[in-house]
Symmetry: C2
Subunit: 355 residues, 2 copies
Amino acid sequence: MPDVTIAEVASHAGVSPSTVSYVLNGNPKISDHTRERVRASIKALNYRPHAGARALRSGRTDVVALAIPMYEWTNERVVMPFVYGVVEAARRHGWNVMLLTDAEHGAEIDQVVRSKMVDGVVLMEVREDDERVAALSGLEARAVTLGMPLQGSSMPYVDFDFEACGRASVDYLVELGHTQIGLLAAPSGVFNRKLGYAQRLWQGVSERLRELGLDFHGCPMEPTMDGVLDALDGLYKKVPGLTAVVVHNEGSLDTLLQALKQRDKDVPSDLSVLAVCQRDLALRVSPVLTCMDVPAVEMGRGAVELLHAREPTSYLVAPVLVPGASTGPPRSRGRVREALTTRRADKPVGPVRAT
Amino acid sequence: MPDVTIAEVASHAGVSPSTVSYVLNGNPKISDHTRERVRASIKALNYRPHAGARALRSGRTDVVALAIPMYEWTNERVVMPFVYGVVEAARRHGWNVMLLTDAEHGAEIDQVVRSKMVDGVVLMEVREDDERVAALSGLEARAVTLGMPLQGSSMPYVDFDFEACGRASVDYLVELGHTQIGLLAAPSGVFNRKLGYAQRLWQGVSERLRELGLDFHGCPMEPTMDGVLDALDGLYKKVPGLTAVVVHNEGSLDTLLQALKQRDKDVPSDLSVLAVCQRDLALRVSPVLTCMDVPAVEMGRGAVELLHAREPTSYLVAPVLVPGASTGPPRSRGRVREALTTRRADKPVGPVRAT
DNA sequence: GAACACCATCGAAGCCCTTCGACACCGACG
DNA sequence: CGTCGGTGTCGAAGGGCTTCGATGGTGTTC
C-alpha cells in the first residue's frame, strides 16, 4: 500500500490540492457539494495527511508533552489518574501525548519543544526551584503545571486547594465533636522535595485548629509499617486523648489501618480517620475511609483545557468531602459543646459535600 | 528568540547547509576541522533541527508509540514498570515515546502510524483476537508486542515464560517437601479477556503437578477481601491438607496475607506462599514474599531493543526465584520422601536463583 | 445589458531539511 | 607535465502540506 498524498486525493476528487487541504482544515468557504466529494475520496483512498509535512508548514503538531519526573518514590497509583485525565482530554481535542520522564533537568523538554515536536507542555510535580519551569519560560510553547509552582511564576496551573482542604478537614471533624485532632502528614521526603502541597495542607490544618483555639500536632509519616507505627505512637504520646486524625499520605492508608488494628484502636469509635486522597484509594481499603477527594482525573483534564484556553487562568480545585465509614463522633463527648461554641462564633465553614 | 534554521547555522560556520546536515547525521566524509566548526556554530546559535522537516524529508521521526489499553481494571503498579523500561530504553536510542491509551480498537494506532508520526509501536496487553495487531499488520511501521500474542502472528514479542514459571514454582515447592499445592490465579476477568498469560501459568502449574503424580487445584481470585476469602476457603475445602499456594494475582497480595491472618494461618508454617509477580511488589508486603520475579523493566527495555534490532526475534524471559520469608518446609513431613522420589525420577528441573 | 460584488476554487510559493550527483582540489603516478 | 583517483564540500531538487492572493463564474443592481 503506497502512501497516498494530498495530490492524489485531489485528482481523485477532481479538485486541486488546496481544496482538499481546506476540507481537511475545516475552511468554511468550501461548498457542501465539494466537501462531500473530497471526503469520499479521502475515505476511498484511505488518506492520512503526513504529520511532518503538516507540522513543517503550519507550525502546529497537535501533540502535547506530558512531563512526569519519575522518581523511585513516585506512587503510580497516585500519578496515573492525572495521566488518564490528561490523555483523555488531549484525545478529545485531537491531540496526541508525548511522554517525558526525565527527572529534574529540562533537557528533554527543551529538545522536544525547540525541535517543534509539541505545541504545549503539561508539567507534573513541579518543585519550588524547578529547572523545567525556567527552561520553558524562554520557549514559545504553551505550558501549564499540574500543581502550583511555589514561586510567582507566570505559568498557569491547576492544583488542589490543599490549604482549604486542611481547614475543611478540621471543620468537619470539629463539627462531629472532635477536639483532639492530629495530622499524619506526607513522608518527610515530600517536604524536603519542596513540592509545596504537603506544606499547604499542614498549614491549613494547623491554622484552622489554632483559630478554633485547639492544639495542633502533626507528624510526617514514612510509608512502611514501622514508619506508620512510629508516627502513630508519637502522636498518641503527644496527644493521649486523640480522637481523630487527618491523613495525608496515599501510600500508607492500608498500613495505617493495619497499624491501628495492631494497637487495638477501633475505627471510627476509638479514632476517626479522615484521609486526603483520591476517592478511589479511600474506597479500596476497609473500612472505607471518609476522604477529602483529590479529583485527579478532572485536574488532568483541566490542565489540558488550560493549554487549550485562549487566556489560561490558574485555578485551585475545591475539596469535596466523600463520607465513608471511618469517621464518627468521638466516644467521650465531654468538650463538644465548648468546641462547637468556639466554632459557631467563627464564620460558617465546611466543605462541599459530594452528591 | 527567533527560530534558527540550518541555513543560519551554515552561514555562521561558513559552510553550506548540506554540510551542516551531514554533521548532524554523522556523515563520515566531513573533515574533523569542519565538523568542529559546525558543532561550535550549532552550540553558539542553540540550534535544533525542525522535527517536522526532518521527518518529511527523511521519513523517520525517532518517535515510538507505546500502546497501553487502559481499562478500569488495569493495575497501575503492574503496568508502570513496563512503561519505565520502554521509556528508558527509548531514550537511550534517542527516541521519544508517544503514549496511546485507546482501549481495544486500533484507530489511534492507525492514525499515528499512517500519518508517519512514529517509526514503531510497542503494544501492551495484546489479546488473542486483538484488533490492533490486525490493524498494524497492513502498515509498514515496526511493531513489537509486550506479551505473547496467542495466534501465530508474525509480530515479534517479548514475554515472561509463564508456563516455565508455573512448572518451576511447583518444583520449588515440591523440593521444600510440599505435596498439597494449590493455585490462586488471576481474577476471572483476566481469563475471559484472553490475555493468555493467566492460562499459561495455570497450565504450567497443573501439568507439572500431574507429571509429579500430584493433584492440582486452582481457583481464580477476585481482588477484594471477599474474593480472596472465597478463593482461599474454596481451596481449603477441596484440599484440606493444603500446605502451599502459588499466587498469580498482583492486586491481592496484601489482601491475601490479611485473609490468612484472619483465618489463623501462619505464613509460612501453616501455608507457604509463592507469588508470581514483580520483585518490588513481593518486597512491599509483610512477610516479604518469596516470588518468581517478572522483570517488567527489563522486558520493557527488551521490547524497545527488539524494535531497534535488525532482525527482531521473539523471546521468553525465564523465571527467576527470589527467596523471601513466605515459604518453607511443610509442618508435617509425612509424604515428603515419596514426593521427592517421584520428582527425582523425572528430569532435574528448577528455576534459576536470583543472585 | 453593463457594472459590480461575492463566492468557491485554484496556483504557486515556501516551510526546513536530506541526499544525490557534481565539482573543485590535491597528491600520486607514469 | 598530463592524467587519474580520492577526498571533502556544495547546489539543487524535492518531500507533502498550508495559505495568500488571484481568477473565473454566478447573481444582483441600476
